[in-house]
């Protein structure tokens, strides 16, 4: 049976990849997906930690992470669409100025 440590290392790696995506990609939707990858890393991590203790608290936390992800999907995509409507592009660079 895989030990919790393996999951933690995997979670960290996923999180790192997601973070790179968020920082380095310009497309708003890819940035968005990258944050979701970070959440996946968190989820893996939580489940990994869950194995170390009695109970299923880690999994419950994981469910709440899912709630956050759902919220993020709803609101985030709404905002992406709004931004896209304003500038006609998904490039995050065009939002570098402070005024709309």
């Amino acid at each position: 049976m895989p030990d919790a440590g393996a999951y933690i290392v995997l979670g960290a790696a996923l999180f790192a990849v997601g973070m790179v995506g968020f920082l380095a990609r310009r497309n708003l939707i890819v940035m968005f997906l990258s944050t979701e990858i970070m959440l996946q890393g968190v989820l893996v991590n939580l489940v990994g930690f869950n194995r170390m203790y009695a109970g299923v608290d880690g999994q419950v936390f994981g469910l709440f992470v899912l709630v956050i992800a759902a919220v993020e999907a709803g609101l985030g995509l709404g905002l992406v669409v709004l931004l896209f409507r304003r500038k006609g592009t998904l490039d995050s660079e065009v939002w570098a100025t402070m005024h709309g």
Partner: protein, 261 residues
């Protein structure tokens, strides 16, 4: 993780970072293949390290390696693929792999919830990628250029590599009660000879959630409600009525009115 192995972990993270850097989209063509090869090597090394350090006493499970590898490589593709639609497809792969990994950790309920919720969420993402990408007429130049990939990779991998090396040093921790109890091999889990009374995961997750975390559940519901209202408010199209089509006729005027369906 002890001694030199930690440095091996750091080295693997660094190699993964290099692979990611190579695969990042660039205007003068990315070295995606090279990145994939090196990244595959890094992932394999990482998994081998895990096998060496964590799995050895318990014996290994091939599914962990497969799906962890798939998840990592797919995640790498999500952030490096110049086409956002492919990013979304790869992300689906990440989600499914992670779901399998969760199942292996006896978190079936969480795994299925993950698939259901992300199926919905990613579906929307797909739809938007498709609509917006089609509207903007093919690949945007923004997708061809990564933004300071080197700095981003260094920052992220240093952070996560360090934390992973530090936190995953779990050998000293005692074996948990859950682990002792859950002796069934992962292969047995989906099969029907699990005792019915050990309804297990779903039941215990539900119990914990609605006993211990009931307030948090309420808060999560509230959060979802707020997000729904916010999303509707944000994405509502504000078009003056007189610009697009005639205004709706006032009630009582002649017009076809029928019950809603």
């Amino acid at each position: 993780m002890t001694g030199g192995l930690v440095y091996l972990l750091y080295v693997l993270f660094a190699v993964g970072g290099i692979a990611l850097y190579l695969a990042m989209p660039r205007t003068q063509g990315a070295h995606a293949k090279a990145g994939l090869v090196i990244g595959g090597g890094a992932v394999a090394g990482l998994l081998a390290l895990c096998a060496q350090v964590y799995m050895a006493p318990h014996g290994s499970n091939i599914f962990y390696y497969i799906f962890a590898g798939v998840a990592l490589l797919a995640a790498g593709r999500v952030v490096t693929h110049p086409n956002p639609t492919y990013s979304a497809v790869y992300f689906a792969l990440v989600v499914l792999s992670v779901a399998v990994l969760l199942v292996m950790q006896r978190a079936e309920f969480l795994a299925v919830a993950l698939v259901i919720i992300y199926a919905g969420a990613i579906l929307v993402t797909y739809a938007f990628v498709i609509m917006l990408a089609q509207q903007s007429g093919g690949g945007s130049s923004a997708d061809q250029r990564a933004r300071e990939p080197m700095l981003a990779i260094i920052a992220s991998f240093v952070v996560m590599g360090t934390i992973a090396g530090r936190v995953s040093d779990l050998r000293e921790l005692p074996n948990s009660p859950v682990e002792v109890q859950a002796t069934a091999d992962v292969m047995d889990v989906p099969l029907a000879d699990t005792p019915v009374k050990d309804a297990g995961n779903t039941l215990s997750v539900g119990r914990t959630m609605f006993n211990q975390y009931v307030v948090v559940v309420q808060l999560a519901g509230l959060l979802l409600l707020v997000a729904m209202v916010g999303a509707i408010a944000v994405s509502r199209k504000r078009i003056p009525a007189d610009e697009h089509g005639p205004p709706p006729p006032p009630p009582g005027e002649i017009g076809r009115t029928v019950p809603p369906f």
